[in-house]
């Protein structure tokens, strides 16, 4: 039994892990394209990268003198490194059943969310930030290992809403939440209020499947909820299109309103668009925040 069982488990595990390398590769690719042109903090500070040599001042200790440089000239020089602040970033990818849907030819919303988060995780990790998957991988970690653990959780983790509701986070942490945000805005207002209470702030990455926005259905159609809890039969789905789009727009407006009030940034991403711009926007939305905090 054991061998057979092990084999079964292993096959299932391999099957489950199969999308992970692909997602990771895509995330790396996206991250690489975004990383070009970004840089560190562009000011001297604590860090490892060389920034500049400056003249030795009296307040600097003798141990600060860079003797190698100073020996080449008449003056004493101090070697300054670039300031590199490490911050904790919490990433959360919604794992509700609705996220495991996709129109034909598009990636699953879950996968696209994971790709975006993994890419931003890779970028942050490169910048020395500490990252973690919210509610799944414990304390934020830096470096390659942190990225590896976080990426795996983002790709395969359960992504439960409970992780957001009872988040155990450091103060003033930054948070990225990727979801389809189809729960009522009121729910999210409550969740964000809790997070804000701990001084955190962050970004909402809203993942939209094109079918959800365009409602391309026609004819006799039966709609079912992802968890199969409810069903709805339309005799002529095309008749409901305009009304649906209005409702959808209202929902979007309510979400934007909610985010604005909570002081979070709302980014919207459709799965039929490339992931790169979304990651770029994420990256930029995170960066000024960092500068602000540093000041």
């Amino acid at each position: 039994m054991t061998i057979r069982h092990t084999q079964t488990l292993r096959r299932a595990a391999e099957h489950a892990a199969a999308p992970f390398p692909a997602l990771l590769a895509e995330a790396e690719r996206v991250a690489a394209s975004v990383a070009l042109g970004t840089h560190g903090r562009r000011r001297s500070g604590h860090g490892e990268t060389f920034w500049e040599y400056r003249r030795h001042r009296t307040e600097d200790g003798a141990q600060a003198v860079d003797w190698r440089r100073s020996a080449r000239g008449q003056h004493l020089f101090v070697r300054e490194t670039e300031w590199e602040a490490a911050n904790a970033v919490y990433l959360w990818r919604d794992g509700s059943p609705g996220m495991a849907l996709a129109s034909k030819g598009q990636p699953l919303k879950k996968d696209r969310a994971a790709v975006c988060l993994m890419a931003i995780a890779a970028l942050l990790s490169r910048g020395g930030e500490r990252i973690t998957a919210l509610g799944e991988t414990g304390r934020p970690r830096a470096g390659r290992a942190g990225l590896e653990i976080t990426a795996r959780a983002l790709a395969e983790g359960p992504g439960e809403a409970r992780a957001v509701e009872s988040a155990d986070i450091a103060r003033h942490a930054r948070i990225v939440l990727a979801s389809d945000f189809l729960d009522p805005p009121e729910t999210w207002t409550a969740r964000l209020a809790r997070l804000n209470a701990s001084g955190a702030s962050g970004i909402l990455l809203r993942i939209i499947d094109p079918a959800e926005e365009d409602f391309p259905f026609a004819g006799r159609t039966r709609f079912a909820a992802p968890d199969n809890a409810a069903r709805l039969l339309f005799g002529r789905a095309e008749d409901a299109r305009d009304a649906y789009r209005t409702v959808w727009a209202e929902h979007g407006a309510a979400l934007a309103q909610m985010a604005r009030q909570a002081g979070w940034t709302l980014l919207t991403h459709r799965t039929d668009r490339p992931a790169g711009p979304a990651v770029m926007a994420l990256h930029q939305a995170l960066a000024p925040r960092a500068m602000e905090q540093a000041r």
Binding site: P184, G219, R222, A224, A225, L232, F234, G235, W248
Partner: protein, 914 residues
């Protein structure tokens, strides 16, 4: 069974089910198609919407119609419809189907078989017993279950002999007298339309027991037969007969050799109202001798084949050489003239008597010098051989026993110095002579002859006479053979005849006696055994084993029959053909007044059962309905909108492509003019954008350099598509070969080979500085070269013309220096006047030449700017080489070049410039 027009129904009650169709209509209208199922995440948003009306969208009217149609088809199929039912077949008497399966029926056999099957199937459907009777096969006649008769019908083939209806009548009578045989039955006689013996007997026997319908073949299925072909002087003649006489009909006779090859064809035409046609084919004798059979094209019947046997082969004629040889000039020798005259028509054997007799010739030629009274000669003649003798001084001196006539002592001399008589000419041949009809040359004058003793029956033996009536050629039978005597010599000593064309013609007629020896030569003892038999469709195949031997003396009288089928028969070494059709065979149409018979023509229409096709159609509709249902449920990918759109797009694009075709032609001409009027270099577009850009930039830079330095002023280079572009406009084509290059297409290879043959030049550049000289073959180059006709190559040394067409160069550097280049090893043989059409190197010349828009070099060069300059010089040399060819190999320039080379050796390398 009820009938509606041409359709009858075997189970009409099933049609009542059609009443249910309106019910089905209501049912189908009430049932909507299954909804499409969509898992939709924002269902909560959707729930907020006011519900759209739930009224089920009913199935579209056309789908309902389709389904109703399907149901109707099934109902109708269950009613067992029959197309053009045979109303006459309503009795329940047993059925007798008589089928003529002789060779006469072979032509229309598929239709005959189909008709017989239709009758039996109908009997089977009605549960009637049936019997199958065959006129050309000795099959049993039993009234049995019709399905058993159907099974037996499958095994029936047309036979290669004529039907024997009298025999069938006998067999049928026996069968009917047996116990269990029905006293009355309905009969169909599927006749081949040819009258035969016993027709009346058979018809009377059958019609006494019930209805008889005689089915005659349709217009084009009438029997055709080829009578035995006769050899004509210069080919053969064939007579074709047919059973009807109405309408003109063209047929072709083809003569087939032993290897199955058609050697000759001859057309023939039946005129309206005639039942015979003639075909003549002209054929040289040696070809005629190779014939194995003569056939009617497009007619697969044993009657349309005439097998040819030994009598068509060349006779073997032996020339007896005199003992001790002839002491004469070859051109004056009698034997020489005899041999020359006989050679076109016979296989010649020469040698002493004993030797040639072992070769079993069918004829012996005995000139005067070879006179031999050996008893074996007499024996040979008496066994059926042909002896051709020529007179001469020895025969004139003494006659012997082997002569057709008695001779007078001493010859007769005509003309000459001491003679008053003029040389005699030959009298026209008599009508009863074998030579009848031959024209006599005026040069054939006779100066001497031996004279026959006048005898009572001399006239009978004379075949040719002189103008004064004296015999020239006499012949007589001796035993079974012939002795033929020419009263002159075989050479020109006594007459001018051997020098004229009349002589071989006469000998050829004589040879006909020997030709007959083929069959007759086998003698009258023993019996013929079959070797290969002809089947009913006219193909030779192995005998079945039911055949019996034919006594040798009865062969000619034996007709084709089941025990003696047509085919090739063998007796010892001799072979003979027994053919289905004999010279006296006639095909007279079947009598239309057979007792008690009704007649019908097989016109191909017969009753057809429609249930099968209808059910198949219903199944197809069902499949279509399922596809439509799937489409409605959204389970079909891309149907119908996107698929239809794609189709429409395809149609639109097709129209768009067709429309501007005319304009395209104009641009083609302008393009061709442009290419033809300007010199420009070409480069092969590899599909690799980077490589192509380098090629283009390189050639463009080279073009500028060439313009600046020489009288060649090329235009901008152009990329070449090897598949479609006309290459001939380019003096040289640069071909960068990447390691992953794919083989060129067949079309491209043809294009390139034509280009090279017509004087083009291609520079292959592997751009890696290594391949071609070390490390094995360049993989890309190897693949590219596969389809091309590249001649043997050799390394170009410093003496090659390329090194001095413009600049004097010692090496041919590109971006990489020190690489070898390879050119055709021996270009002198080609039509290019010593110019190599292929130059293969690896120095990446284009890379060295290439300059960006700004004029700066695009790539660094190994040896710096000096080497870049050298590579430009090589480029200029290349262009010169492509355009001026071997001009600089001209010896005129050798002293100057030598002098300059000498200076170069002493001075610095810069001095090599012109």
């Amino acid at each position: 069974m009820i009938s509606l027009g041409p359709i009858g129904f075997a189970a009409p009650l099933a049609l009542i089910a059609l009443i249910a169709l309106p019910l089905l209509w209501l049912l189908l209208r009430a049932t909507p198609p299954a909804p499409r199922h969509v898992v939709f995440a924002p269902l909560r948003l959707l729930q907020r919407l006011a519900q759209t009306p739930q009224t089920p969208q009913s199935a579209p009217w056309w789908l309902i119609m389709l389904r109703l149609l399907m149901a109707a088809i099934v109902v109708i199929a269950l009613a067992q419809p029959v197309w053009r039912p045979d109303d006459g077949a309503r009795s329940d008497l047993p059925v007798l189907v008589v089928v003529d399966n002789g060779w006469q029926a072979a032509q229309g056999w598929p239709r005959t078989l189909a008709q017989a099957r239709a009758y039996l199937e109908s009997a089977n459907a009605q549960g009637r017993r049936a019997a199958l009777a065959l006129t050309a096969s000795q099959s049993e006649i039993v009234f049995e279950n019709a399905s058993a008769a159907l099974a037996r019908l499958d095994g029936v083939r047309p036979q290669s002999w004529s039907p024997d209806r009298a025999d069938l009548a006998t067999r049928l009578e026996d069968a009917l007298s047996a116990s269990g045989a029905p006293s009355r039955f309905d009969s169909w006689w599927l006749s081949d339309g040819v009258a035969g013996e016993g027709d009346t007997t058979l018809a009377r026997l059958i019609s006494q027991r019930g209805r008889l319908v005689v089915s005659l073949p349709g217009g084009n299925d009438g029997a055709l037969a080829l009578r035995p072909v006769s050899a004509a002087a210069d080919g053969f003649e064939a007579e074709i007969i047919r059973s009807g006489t109405s309408g003109t009909r063209d047929v072709t006779v083809s003569a087939v050799g032993q290897d199955g090859q058609v050697i000759a064809r001859a057309p023939a035409r039946f005129e309206d109202g005639r039942s015979t046609a003639r075909a003549e084919a002209r054929l040289p004798l040696d070809l005629r001798n190779r014939l194995a059979s003569v056939r009617l094209e497009g007619v697969s019947s044993a009657g349309a084949v005439q097998l040819l046997d030994d009598s068509w082969q060349r006779p073997r004629i032996a020339l007896i050489e005199p003992e001790g040889g002839e002491n004469r000039q070859p051109l004056l020798s009698d034997l020489h003239y005899a041999q020359q005259a006989l050679a076109p028509y016979a296989e010649i054997v020469r040698g002493p008597l004993e030797t040639v007799l072992e070769e079993e010739p069918s004829g012996l030629v005995m000139v005067d010098a070879a006179r031999n009274e050996d008893p074996s000669v007499l024996e040979f003649v008496e066994r059926g051989g042909l002896l051709i003798r020529f007179a001469g001084p020895r025969l004139a001196a003494r006659e012997d026993s082997l002569l057709p006539v008695r001779l007078r002592q001493g010859g007769r001399l005509l003309g000459g110095a001491l003679n008053w008589e003029e040389p005699q000419t030959i009298a026209p041949f008599g009508d009863d002579s074998p030579f009848a009809g031959l024209s006599i040359s005026g040069d054939a004058t006779i100066r001497s002859q031996v004279l026959a003793e006048p005898e009572a029956d001399l006239d009978r033996r004379v075949w040719a006479r002189l103008a004064d009536g004296t015999p020239l050629v006499t012949a007589d039978r001796r035993g079974e053979g012939w002795v033929v005597l020419f009263h002159i010599t075989a050479g020109p000593d006594w007459s001018g005849l051997p020098l004229t064309g009349t002589f071989p013609a006469m000998l050829r007629r004589v040879l006909a006696l020997a030709e007959g020896a083929g069959t007759g030569g086998a003698g009258s003892e023993g019996s013929w055994q079959i070797e290969r038999m002809l089947d009913g469709t006219g193909r030779l195949r192995a005998p079945t084993g039911n055949e019996s031997a034919i006594p040798a003396d009865a062969f000619d009288e034996t007709p084709a029959s089941p025990t003696h089928p047509p085919g090739i028969w063998r007796l010892g070494a001799a072979s003979a053909a027994l053919n289905a059709v004999r010279a006296d065979t006639v095909l007279s149409p079947m009598a239309r007044d057979l007792p008690g018979a009704l007649y019908e023509i097989r016109d191909g229409v017969r009753e057809q059962r429609l249930a099968g096709p209808l059910l198949a159609l219903a199944a197809l509709l069902l499949a279509l309905d399922m596809i439509i249902a799937l489409a409605f449920a959204g389970r079909l990918p891309g149907l119908p909108a996107s698929r239809l759109a794609g189709l429409a797009m395809a149609v639109l694009i097709g129209g768009a492509v067709l429309a501007p075709a005319a304009e395209a032609q104009d641009t083609d001409i302008a393009e061709a003019l442009d290419r033809a009027l300007e010199v420009r270099f070409g480069y092969v577009m590899t599909g690799n954008r980077e490589v192509d850009a380098v090629s283009r930039a390189g050639l463009a830079a080279l073009s500028r350099e060439v313009t600046a330095r020489s009288a060649i002023e090329p235009e901008e280079p152009r990329g070449v598509d090897l598949d479609d572009d006309e290459l001939i406009f380019f003096p040289l084509i640069y071909w960068p070969v990447t390691p992953d290059a794919q083989p060129v297409s067949e079309r491209a290879a043809r294009n390139i080979n034509t280009y090279l043959l017509s004087g083009g030049m291609i520079i292959f550049d592997t751009r890696d500085g290594a391949a071609g000289t070390r490390g094995g073959a360049h993989p890309g180059l190897e693949r590219v070269m596969q389809g091309l006709e590249i001649p043997a190559l050799a390394r170009a040394d410093t003496e090659h013309v390329l090194s001095r067409t413009f600049y004097l160069l010692r090496e041919y550097p590109g971006r990489i220096a020190g690489t070898d280049i390879w050119v055709e090893a021996n270009p002198d043989g080609a039509a290019r006047d010593g110019v190599s059409g292929v130059i293969i190197g690896s120095a990446d010349w284009a890379g060295a030449w290439a300059r960006a828009e700004s004029g700066n070099p695009m790539f660094p060069v190994e040896g710096g700017e000096r080497q870049r300059e050298m590579s430009y010089r090589f480029g200029v040399n290349l262009a010169m080489y492509a355009l001026t060819g071997n001009y600089k190999t001209d010896q005129v320039h050798v002293p100057a070049i030598l002098e300059r080379l000498g200076q170069g050796r002493r001075g610095p390398p810069q001095r090599l410039e012109p």
